[in-house]
Amino acid sequence: MEIFAQQIINGLTAGSVYALVALGYTMVYGIIQLINFAHGEVVMIGGMVALTVITTLVGMGLPLPPIVLVLAGIIAAIPICMAIGYLLERAAYRPLRHAPRLAPLITAIGMSIVLQQVALLIWGRDPKAFPQIMENQSFAIGGASITSVQIAIILMSVVIMAALTWFVYRTRFGIAIRATAEDVRVAALMGVDANRTIAATFVIGAGLAAVAGVMYGTYYGITHYTMGFMLGLKAFSAAVLGGIGNLAGAMLGGILLGLVEALGAGYIGEFTDLCRWPLVDGLLVERCANGGNVVLFGSNYQDVFAFMVLILVLVFRPSGLLGERVSERA
């Protein structure tokens, strides 16, 4: 039971990060039906920029409280990521808006490779460790423990998601975004500047990605130039799980995916331990003796879960949990 509670907490934390990244995918998809492959790379760059800023500040030896350091990292990462998001839209996607669907997908992949290599040039090939700035206090909840970093990540993503929901549903600009997502041409007839709205969607998504990148870095304590790839893949799976194009869906999908992954990784070793299976037991007596175990799939298969979820959703409910629109559009 303790493992269960602990994995729930870990899953919620990872899920909050996935949710923030998934929002970026889902917003862009909702408005121009494009999978922004380079989104994961924007997250990575956010983490890298914050790392550089925090390391520099720590190196200067100023007596700054950790929260200020992290905030400085976030504040530096957001505009840079937003600029990249804007550039991506302008340089790679806007010129191809009316091209066949395959074209912008291919540019997106190209941009993602270019961003990765640029990050490699700037920050090097080795994983970079985030400086230990917060003394990681943990609090006990029902046998499990939650750290201050985890609390901060969960709270912060809740606040950001609430703010985003307010923005999209209550402001003029939010209405413009939703109108463009509904129908670009009609929205334009109503006086919405489609180009500006689409660019803004990319920029907002990139801003969320920056925050997610910093969270990821502080939580796992490490950043690497390839980290955006898996993270992006998982977040996209989360967006599809929730119903792509749907904001609430992305949040729900992110959290659910985090939970599935954490619980899966926590229990898969136990479930696939052949020594616990009565049937096979006889064949493996030697290896099972003295409390030994023969684990088929250990927690190193964690990354497979997101993918399994993606396939299952696509097979059984392609529109996702909260999506209404069937994704088949000619």
Partner: protein
């Protein structure tokens, strides 16, 4: 064909036959590089069936290459003590890869193309995770260490790893592989060209351009897409088997996402759907980085006194940039297929 054409063809064939002898005199390394380039042409032509002809974006293509390579490696190495002959394993690898393609395609091909793209991307990664981890608790793939001492090809008692002398000309191992690859490549090109004009090929193009209309015209779109996927995958599997035989060593590291992107870049740059364009694209993207490898380092050393940009990074930048710039300025590729050109330049 006219006499002139025959003469030209004979000249090309002669040049291709003499190539390894010329390259050997420059350095055996260049024969190996050429062999790898041919292997990549092979891969690019396989992916061309999927992406170019049927218009299905497959981002995990290298996984099928990996399946073929591992099938070969497991059945012809001391790892399991199996040493089956290549004419059994190569088709087996192709079969397994094709099956993997069909299994992956079945749940996703009903959906829109971009879902397929991301699922294949994930699939490529999953295959790599499995290759990396299937050493526990039963050692199947030997994990990240990979499988070594794989048997080379062995045709009629002639071992491909040794050097043979024929008519006073020494033929090294790589040179012999070159000829095998050349034969295979010719076969693949012929199959590709015939496919393009066949009923199946035309069905693929119809699906690529308008799936709804293709369906209305009586094409079983799902089966056709599945066929494209499986066929492309089996090409990848065959190439993988050859790769394992040539290198004598496979490890998960050879099958990362970057390789999938590289093959895709070859297809896109050359001209999706056009066999000769893809061939040229693959050759270009195989050789240019090799030349860079030999020039970038010395030039940087000379200019800055140290290595600023790793050739490997430059290589990836070229591939990424090629994808973006091709789509932006020549969406149908450098040597476009005439039909595709119409499609990519049309405004919707």
């Amino acid at each position: 064909m006219s006499t002139k054409k025959w003469f030209g063809l004979a000249l090309v064939v002669l040049a291709l036959l003499a190539l390894p002898l010329v390259l050997t005199s420059v350095g055996t390394a260049w024969v190996r590089i050429t062999n790898l380039a041919i292997l990549f042409v092979f891969l690019a032509l396989g992916l061309n069936i999927v992406v170019g002809m049927a218009g299905l974006l497959d981002l995990g293509y290298i996984a099928f290459f990996a399946v073929g390579a591992y099938v070969y490696a497991l059945l012809a190495s001391p790892h399991f003590g199996l040493h089956l002959p290549f004419w059994i394993i190569l088709p087996l690898g192709a079969l397994f890869a094709g099956m993997a393609g069909a299994i992956l395609g079945a749940p996703t091909l009903r959906l829109r193309g971009d879902y397929l793209a991301i699922v294949t991307l994930g699939f490529g990664e999953i295959v790599r995770i499995f290759m990396n981890n299937l050493s526990q608790p039963f050692n199947i793939t030997n994990g990240p260490k990979g499988i070594t001492l794989i048997d080379g090809l062995n045709v009629a008692g002639m071992n491909f790893t040794a050097t043979h002398t024929l008519f006073g000309i020494p033929f090294t191992g790589p040179a012999k592989y070159y000829y095998v690859l050349l034969i295979l490549l010719t076969l693949v090109i012929v199959v590709n060209l015939r496919l393009q004009k066949s009923r199946i090929g035309r069905a693929w193009v119809a699906i690529r351009e308008d799936e709804l209309a293709a369906k209305a015209a009586g094409i079983n779109t799902r089966n056709m897409k599945l066929l494209a996927f499986a066929m492309g995958a089996s090409f990848g599997g065959t190439a993988g088997g050859m790769f394992a035989a040539m290198q004598g060593f496979v490890s998960p590291e050879s099958f990362i996402l970057h390789e999938s992107i590289l093959v895709l870049a070859m297809v896109v740059l050359g001209g999706m759907g056009n066999v000769w364009g893809v061939l040229a694209g693959a050759m270009l993207l195989s050789f240019v980085p090799e030349f860079l490898r030999y020039t970038v380092e010395p030039v940087q050393q000379m200019l800055f006194g140290k290595l600023l940009v790793d050739p490997e990074v430059l290589r990836m930048l070229i591939f990424g940039g090629a994808l973006v710039l091709t789509m932006r300025f020549r969406p149908a590729g450098l040597w476009p297929e005439s039909r595709h050109k119409l499609e990519m330049n049309e405004e919707k």
